[in-house]
């Protein structure tokens, strides 16, 4: 079936190249998964109108102005991913939301505190082992935001977790690939400021955050500082520049 789909793809002409064929097949598979995830008994995330706040520069970027309860948000791995994750949960945490992180023993907690996350409301399950699913489900029942390391979670389990989050009004944050997420964020064009050859120190990083998701239209994104000098996200006035179908780097 994938083969048939590949043949119908417009870019199928360069089929001789095995790598590009594989890429195409993956794309088709992802599309199918997305469509399967789209069939839902309950309404979409809009069913629960409450939104968890996020810090200013990111809020202007996100479609709901924040993390919509019941939605699932993926932060695609790569440079800046962990900082972005911390920046996403910081504001909600500062306002008293509980945040759970599953399966990230190497999370930088000082950076989390600098980003504005309240450590007394940040529950960590560094090593869930084989019980990752059960642990995440349990945390979704009680926490407002649950971040889970996305790699290696099966499609069926992803749907189960997303459904659970929707049902409990929690936000599921995935760090890593998570096909089927309502919103997918990634960082690109990261540039550090403050370092010169041998002098200065790391001060801030300019990144372009890109946003993809259902019903968002193509290429939405903006530039911001992540982290800024204090630790959390920041940005110049011209931060959010919705860009037309930008080239997606890595």
């Amino acid at each position: 079936m994938a083969e048939a789909a590949v043949r119908r793809m417009p870019g199928g002409g360069s089929r001789a190249d095995a790598a590009s064929r594989l890429e195409l097949a993956r794309g088709v598979l992802r599309g199918l998964e997305d469509r399967a995830a789209g069939i839902r008994p309950v309404g979409g995330p809009a069913a629960d109108g409450r939104v968890l706040p996020v810090a200013g520069p990111l809020a202007r970027l996100l479609p709901a102005g924040g993390l919509r309860r019941g939605s699932s948000v993926a932060v695609v791995g790569g440079p800046g991913a962990t900082s972005l994750l911390l920046a996403l949960v910081a504001e909600a945490s500062a306002e008293g939301a509980w945040v759970g992180v599953v399966g990230r023993p190497e999370l930088g907690l000082v950076a989390a505190a600098e980003a504005g996350v309240r450590l007394d409301r940040l529950a960590l399950v560094p090593r869930p082992g084989r019980d990752l699913l059960a642990v995440t489900v349990a945390l979704l029942d009680g926490m407002d935001v649950v971040a889970v390391a996305g790699g290696g979670v099966r499609a069926a389990d992803r749907q189960r977790l997303a459904a659970r989050a929707r049902q409990r009004g929690a936000v599921l944050l995935a760090l890593g690939p998570w096909p089927g997420a309502d919103v997918e964020l990634s960082c690109a064009d990261a540039q550090w400021q403050g370092l010169e050859g041998g002098s200065g120190r790391l001060c801030a990083r300019r990144v372009r955050v890109e946003l993809r998701g259902k019903g968002l239209g193509p290429g939405r994104g903006g530039r911001l500082l992540l982290p800024s000098r204090g630790g959390g996200p920041g940005g110049a006035p011209e931060v959010v520049v919705p860009e037309p179908a930008a080239v997606v780097a890595g």
Partner: protein, 611 residues
Amino acid sequence: MNEPVRVLALWSPDWPVTAAARAEGVAPHRPAAVVVANRVLACSAVARAHGVRRGLNRREAQARCPELAVLARDPDRDARAFEPVVVAVEELAPGVEIVRPGLLVMPARGPVGWFGSEQAAAERLVDQVAARTGVECQVGVADGLFAAVLAARRGLAVGPGDTPPFLAPLGVEELDREPDAGRADLVDLLRRLGLRSLGAFGALDADDVASRFGADAVLAHRLARGLDPRPPLRRRPPEELAVEIELDPPVDRVDAAAFAARGLAERLHAALAGHGLSCTRLGIAARTTAGEELHRIWRCAEPLSPSGTVDRVRWQLDAWLARGHAGEVRWLRLTPEETVTAGALQLGLWGEAGEADARAGRAMVRVQALLGPDAVVTAVLAGGRDPAEQVRLVPWGDEREPGAPPPRRTRRTGPVGGPDAAGERAGGERDPAPDEPGAWSWGVRPGDGTPRRAPAGWPDDVLRATGRVSAVDRPESGHARPSNARRRAATRSTPIGRPAVPEPAPSWPGRVPAPSPATVPVEPLPAEPLDVGGAPVGLAAPDRLTAAPHRVAVDGGAAREVRGWAGPWPLEQRWWAGAGPVSRMQLALDDGTALLLAHRDGRWWVVGVYD
């Protein structure tokens, strides 16, 4: 009203074992023990004679007594099995209250008046219970519930007014004998303060106890002096607080009845909370289809929570329904027989959304049930200079207070040099086998015997050097405190003996300033920076590189291009503990990440990734 009431307590020793042994058909002469989570919860007298003790490991218990019958715990069964005992006692004495399965109390006046003397009343009750149910029990009489229960454990009748002298020589651990009391912290603290007997504790001034030890200790203090646990002024509950429910159709199964009881208990507690009250004595009444009226009073040491209420209703209904001939329950009523002004039970006391916290707490406890208590942690920022050193992980449920004894995680290592100590750094040997993954043990020698508790923010070494050890620490310093952080007693006792003004947090000069790395590898990864020519970059001096880094390979991976670098910044600390100097350097890579490297023992390590 100040006169304490004479109370008669009837206690059946090792009730969980008795109930379990009867249910399982274990003969009474066989040693038996009820085991929960591999620990002995209770054991029979025969088993005790073989050396089995409460709290013993199951294997150890079986080793001491190979023919030991190991039984499972079942609170419902305990309550059910106790019901015949209550019925037998009720035939002779009115006003029986169940404290818990295995222990019941009643006002002594009735039976003593009827049978002529306390001795006679006790004999009749013991005979009656033994004849009707075959259960052995002991009776004690004293002023007040607490003393009566202690007297029952010893089979004594304490004369009127003799209760304080009776209590005085007993150990403070008697305050924590009842399973629900939860005063292990207080008892531990009192013993460490040298107050080993109830008399010594009772001799303290009540005001001092209240100001030093908190509300629960005030109750305990009243108990120790032989007074009623609460001040005598008691509120009469207004009548409309009782809640009732018609069960239609009538219920004959415990789970169905318990379901109804849950809603009822919640209504009761909502009504009580509306009046600012909580319940310490709960009346449970039921009417059956056979027209029988059943009524029973449960008494609790602590104000009842909704779930505690549901438990008691369920146990009681279980007992009634198990008798068989009662028929179905068609009406249920809960009456708060005695109330106190609600204090700690109120939700949202600190202005936080108490419900969300409770929900999150439940979720974390559930994960702990899945993975073990140490699997769910929260972080506390501690002093230190390495990104990993600045964080202490505390298992959920333990105290987060920064002054608490650091568990076996990174210990604070500290500045002792002058104000200019900006360049010190913990270095030293890498512990080849850190006792916990995630805790870097650099600079901390295993078992170097430092006292592990320090006033907030102060490193251990400073304390040792300056002699600034708080009074609480001294008895501990000889032997290493067990590293298990779950010793709440110790943490909670910390404020006592500590100066009232908190120490200012140290500034840790030499820390890499914010932003901090968002990823801190669990174990430092080896890194190899290379110069333009491909030669490894080393240190010419603590603050000078041999060459500018051009590429870097992390953990044996492919070399990546370096876009910018800064450093090295030398740091020396804990040289008195044999730690070597360390230099740190920041590298920005071509893909937008940056690395924090530390040079120690002749190599570079990645201690943080800015991703």
